[in-house]
């Protein structure tokens, strides 16, 4: 009898976890590993002073890093890692003018290990500035870029190791895993809509009517639209993948088929729009239309969330007293 009970429990555990494990491996781990590879390659390229190649690798790094960021659930698995993305990327999280500070450091003679003492000096945003506005043949610039790339790689590796260490925490509780993943997607959609599109197009509350292309995430390298596409592709990996059980499948299991299909529809619509966009389109009607699509996407995530909480839509017996 005991054996049967254990077998049933193990079988149930396997059924519940198997697909989540595939999602964890094929999305979370895959994306972080890709970005670590990109960071490593970029270091090698910088060391060799190859500007064009470094710029090309930077684009790949941004693409994979944005995917990691869009589905970042590590902070919920271990709160020590809540702020780790800030050591890699300071978009909308820092009011410093790092360009001026980096210019000062380039023109000074201080030891770089002291000069680049701030985390913000070693982020992907700082690296973008150096790779796309400075000359890599300058030894000091090259050394600075190398320190930045190494720092990014270091934090990406930390994230990768921590994900591996917390794999069981993610895969053992499907409900918890879905909750933190959905939170990551909602938060990513808000940042996408308000900061990456709305602030640039002058559609956000903060910058209503005042469009400015300089507010785009990768305005210097002109990779902002590509970054947006990567974020949306990460959402696609999370809710509409054919290779693994994703959040869409979990939502359907909870009876939210209509809602999740609607969400996927808005996501596909946004992806189709971004694929036809250039950087300058963020300022015109295409940007406005994308803003609207991401707004619908966010609303629709919230609707899926409500459905997960099925109790809210059910009128409880509470009358007649």
């Amino acid at each position: 009898m005991k054996r049967i009970i254990i077998s049933v429990i193990l079988l149930f555990t396997f059924c519940v976890n198997a697909v989540d494990k595939a999602f964890f491996e094929q999305v979370i781990i895959h994306n972080i590993e890709q970005s670590i590879i990109n960071a490593k390659q970029i270091s090698a390229s910088i060391k060799q002073g190859k500007t064009k190649k470094s710029q090309m690798l930077f684009v790949q790094l941004v693409s994979n890093w944005k995917k990691v960021e869009a589905t970042y659930v590590l902070g919920d698995l271990n709160e020590d890692f809540l702020d780790t993305p800030r050591y890699i990327d300071i978009f909308h999280g820092n009011n410093e003018d790092i360009k001026a500070q980096l210019d000062l450091i380039i023109s000074a003679n201080d030891d770089l290990s002291y000069a680049l003492y701030r985390h913000s000096h070693k982020t992907i945003n700082a690296l973008e500035y150096l790779l796309f506005t400075q000359d890599l043949s300058n030894t000091r610039v090259r050394s600075m870029a190398l320190i930045m790339a190494k720092s990014i790689e270091h934090y990406l590796r930390n994230i990768g190791s921590a994900y591996q260490a917390h794999r069981s925490k993610f895969v053992q509780d499907e409900q918890f895993a879905s909750a933190i993943l959905l939170n990551a997607l909602v938060s990513s959609t808000y940042a996408l809509k308000e900061w990456r599109i709305g602030d640039v197009a002058g559609l956000s509350k903060k910058y209503k009517g005042h469009a400015d292309a300089r507010r785009a995430e990768y305005a210097i390298s002109q990779n902002s639209v590509m970054a947006i596409l990567s974020i949306l592709q990460a959402h696609k990996q999370a809710i509409d993948a054919s290779s693994h059980k994703d959040f869409g499948d979990v939502a359907r299991k909870f009876g939210a088929t209509k809602e999740i299909n609607k969400t996927i529809g808005f996501l596909n619509q946004a992806i189709a729009q971004v694929e036809k966009m250039q950087e300058q389109d963020l300022l015109n009607a295409k940007g406005k239309s994308l803003y609207q699509s991401t707004n619908w996407l966010m609303q629709s995530y919230y609707l899926s969330l409500m459905n997960k909480l099925g109790f809210v839509s059910k009128v409880l017996d509470a009358d007649g007293d």
Binding site: G75, N183, S187, L309, F311, D319, G320
Partner: protein, 300 residues
């Protein structure tokens, strides 16, 4: 839909007051009570009680209102989901995106469950109190109080207007609480439940909420009755002499704080119903539906 308008579904749905488990637990509690109080057996087991015209009216009315709710009342109601979405959207627009960190999933679940339960009970208290103190609402609530005998199905002897108000109350409160929690915690919220029902509501329903509408006068004692409404306290609420006291649902704290609490020990004799001259308007099925409108029109 067919399932939804089947009154028998009430027996198998844990969200319903007369879910078979709650009925069963109430029967067990009642059996123990009657075993300890032999004098009460005669009344509680008599045909006179269970086949009383008022009880028969409750049974028939229950079938009507369970179908009417699904076909007419629910479609008119704004859902808790819509309210929650609106609240979340309002907070997002006003204060931007916020994610409260530092609480475990379990802590948020417990806090959310508790908030839902307490605020829902609080709003229930006040709506119930308004149903008694506002003349035009009392006209509709009289339907419920016109029962001369109490059975678990008296719980459903409620005018459609009152059902609508309770449905709105539910949507607004659950929507408000959910919207605020979703804004702060996103998907990290859930409910501590038993069979899909708020665990606290389940426990209170399990420990004899069906006895509120019965002749089993169980008291919880002077101290507990200041915190939790006992079946006897609700029966006092149904008595002609104490109709404007003990409005509480599960918790008695609101009655205590807002001076409407009456403890079981202070009332010996209970006669259910409303004033004699008003009872004649609530003896038949059609009267339960139309009398409130007629009486309101006549009083103008």
């Amino acid at each position: 839909m067919l399932m939804a308008i089947n009154p028998l579904e009430y027996l198998i749905d844990p969200h319903k007051r007369i879910y078979w488990v709650f009925l069963f637990s109430s029967v067990v509690i009642a059996a123990v009570f009657l075993w300890l109080n032999p004098k009460k057996r005669r009344l509680n087991l008599s045909k006179k009680l269970w086949l009383h015209p008022s009880a028969l009216l409750d049974y028939g009315y229950f079938i009507f209102i369970s179908i009417f709710k699904v076909l007419v009342i629910f479609p008119m109601l704004i859902g808790a989901k819509e309210v929650a979405l609106w609240v979340n959207d309002f907070l997002l627009t006003q204060y931007g995106f916020v994610r409260i960190e530092g609480f475990s999933y379990t802590q948020v679940m417990v806090f959310f469950t508790l908030s839902l339960f307490v605020l829902s009970d609080f709003s229930r208290y006040w709506l119930h109190r308004f149903l008694h103190t506002m003349p035009w609402l009392w006209a509709f609530h009289k339907v419920h109080h016109s029962a001369k005998v109490l059975t678990p199905l008296t719980f459903y002897r409620v005018h459609p207007v009152e059902s609508l108000l309770f449905g709105l109350r539910y949507s607004l409160i659950v929507g408000l609480v959910s919207g605020v929690f979703i804004y702060g915690f996103g998907a990290m919220i859930g409910i501590v439940d038993i069979l899909g029902v708020n665990a606290l509501a389940f426990v209170f329903s399990f420990v004899g909420s069906n006895l509120r509408h019965s002749h089993i006068g169980i008291s919880f004692g002077t101290i507990i009755e200041r915190f939790l409404i006992s079946p006897k306290q609700h029966q006092i609420h149904h008595s002609k002499q104490h109709i404007n006291v003990n409005f509480g649902g599960f918790l008695a704290i609101w009655d205590w704080v807002f001076n409407s609490l009456v403890l079981s020990k202070s009332v010996n004799r209970i006669k259910f119903g409303i004033k004699q001259n008003e009872m004649k308007h609530f003896n038949r099925f059609h009267q339960l539906i139309f009398s409130p409108f007629y009486l309101l029109f006549k009083s103008k």
